[in-house]
Symmetry: C2
């Protein structure tokens, strides 16, 4: 079992009606709040009005940063930092999914950062201090409510970089806020949850029972609960399980005690969505089974047979047949929840494959993946996704 | 799924050689350290010398509180608090298992407590501030390294009370420090880990997949790893799994999303060890299968069949037969790891049963157990353990 550090300071308030605690939570940080959110779904759902009523009744000064993009951009981070300085912000309240939370984390760190903010994204080790962050989660997907990472895009350099900025101080996780998430976003979020687990599950060291077991529970739980939610979007327990799974999937616990390799599918998907504004989880769903087929070999086959057995309940005497059955089961599952499963379906062709593959291996991280990937390997995986 | 709060601020440094970080961790709290430990096993193992050399080389001022009892007493807490005041202590460094950690937590809270310290144990909600606590774990059992609770005994009132005092700031968890733990203590510690899970596992609400799944992983992992460790006490991975299991078993995560009842076996065991100085885990091993048999009924049988299936891999068409098979498997497992399985074997007879049962139900908590227990019920369970 490998050494590791567990250090997650975030407090989670999980369940129905936890928003009751919002003002007392914010109160401990100050009165000047930057409220950040995305495209306005929180206005449709009534959550925005609920929050504003609570904050104005308790005499908070609220400044808004709305319109945070699905793949949040560095300019938006700059805009947020400027708002914080102009309005002397004490705490950021991020309401939304991973994009809003990620962007808000970068703003929290950017507030105290003296250099250029894109340099901060590239070199997060230079961050010394951050603003407090409280969030209200409205999508089960990225796990950003319980990790330090944020993924920020730079349209000029066509880069999309994930960096550790800060942990949220408090995350309010009410599964009822995800009732209104459309089917495609729910399925894409679930693919993201599964990908966070799978990127870590595929590793040689299986000596930590909790890491292995929690990975398999989360995968089985998503496979069980996503179809329930697609049938009945208001099924509270199924929504709650997806949310609690998403929180832990990206917490790092599934990799504690294991060798931690570079995440392969995320590295490639970030290049896809740096060129095309596709949904992160959709990109991952398309890539993951193809990546799996590509890396299936003598060294990896035992991991795949374990995956097939413990996650899908499959059996076969031939390990390669069993491994392929598990990969097929994952593909079929994504199809069954109506995720597009080819790049063509999401309007992506070969045009930028060369550049994407080049960028994916630019800093050499993919050589440190579970199975090392060169530019050519990435090209082959992308072609298999067409 | 029930609402819950997750809020564990403790940082864990897990693995071989993590003691390398000890002085830098302590440094952040101050130079005056109260070193607390138990009966001196850390002197035999060489850990004491290693710690002292590190601390003196880095110019810490170290005061010692040794001889903390297996069931730590309120007088020891008082002595520790006094030492902290006399020597202007900045941080407590607790080295040992649950008893040393528990006592140290009470000292951390007692340092800033103005009233009588036994009153503090009885009314922990009156604690407002605590000293920083760093610990080095040497036993996998109580999970005290990752929770806020301490169990303190009062020999005068013959009470043994568990109260939340404070979370450790940092826990250093090096499985190699448990290589020298004797077989009986290793087995008793494992019974304690299993009990922490079982006290929570038995509850109606099974809607949270992570709570259910993590419970079952921990139980299966202990069942797998304890026999390995008893055969080869230096098996690092098996020791590491037991330690990581113990950390999570008592963290609260197995009860998040569930209805949380009063812990039955712990409540009764605390009365046993308030009268007799028996090892906590031994008391729990003796009580648990008898408690299970006693509460097996129409309402609980489905939980027991799940336990038999998912933890022990058992099957039977008759749910009661299946339930009893699972209880028997647990009993047989404890026998197989050489735990004494009757009260007679540990020198306890009926003499104090009446008073113990009376004390166990004194504050009415056991009426709020998964299956309500009256004084008579507790008497019956104790008699079944003879």
């Amino acid at each position: 079992m490998q050494n590791f550090i567990y250090d997650i300071p975030t407090k989670l308030l999980f369940g129905k009606g936890q928003i009751e605690n919002l003002t007392s939570v914010l109160q401990s940080f100050g009165k000047n709040v930057l409220l950040t959110y995305g495209g306005g779904s929180i206005k449709k759902s009534g959550l925005y009005d609920d929050i504003m009523q609570r904050l104005t009744t308790s005499h908070f000064h609220v400044v808004e940063l709305s319109g945070i993009e699905p793949n949040p951009r560095i300019e938006t981070v700059r805009k947020g930092v400027e708002l914080c300085h102009v309005h002397n912000i004490d705490v950021i309240l991020a309401v939304g999914g991973g994009s809003t939370l990620d962007c808000s984390k970068a703003i929290c760190a950017g507030y105290y950062y003296s250099g250029d903010l894109w340099e901060m994204v590239l070199h997060p080790q230079t961050i010394t201090k951050t603003l407090p962050l409280v969030d209200i989660l409205t999508l089960s997907a990225t796990g950003s409510e319980f990790d330090a990472f944020g993924v920020i895009s730079n349209p000029i350099t066509q880069e999309k970089i994930g960096s550790p900025f800060c942990y949220p101080n408090v995350s309010i996780c009410d599964p009822a806020y995800t009732f209104s998430v459309p089917a495609l976003q729910t399925a894409a979020g679930s693919a993201d949850i599964m990908s966070h687990v799978l990127e870590v599950y595929f590793s040689e060291d299986a000596s930590c029972d909790l890491a292995e077991g929690i990975s398999e529970i989360i995968l089985r739980s998503v496979i069980k609960n996503l179809p329930i939610v697609l049938k009945d979007p208001h099924d509270y327990d199924a929504r709650a399980n997806l949310m609690w799974n998403s929180t832990w999937a990206c917490s790092g616990i599934t990799g504690m005690g294991k060798i931690n390799y570079t995440w392969s599918c995320h590295a490639i998907e970030h290049k896809l969505s740096a060129f095309y504004d596709i949904t992160h989880g959709v990109g991952l769903a398309i890539l993951t089974p193809r990546w799996m087929e590509y890396i299936l070999n003598e060294k990896t086959v035992d991991r795949f047979t374990r995956f097939s057995r413990n996650v899908w309940g499959l059996e076969d005497d031939d390990p390669y047949v069993l491994a392929r059955k598990g990969i097929q089961a994952l593909y079929d599952f994504f199809v069954s929840v109506n995720l597009p499963m080819t790049l063509h379906e999401v309007g992506i062709d070969e045009t930028h494959f060369e550049k994407m593959a080049e960028d994916a291996v630019k800093y050499g991280e993919l050589l440190d993946a579970y199975v090392s990937l060169t530019k050519e390997d990435v090209m082959n995986i992308l072609k298999a996704c067409l």
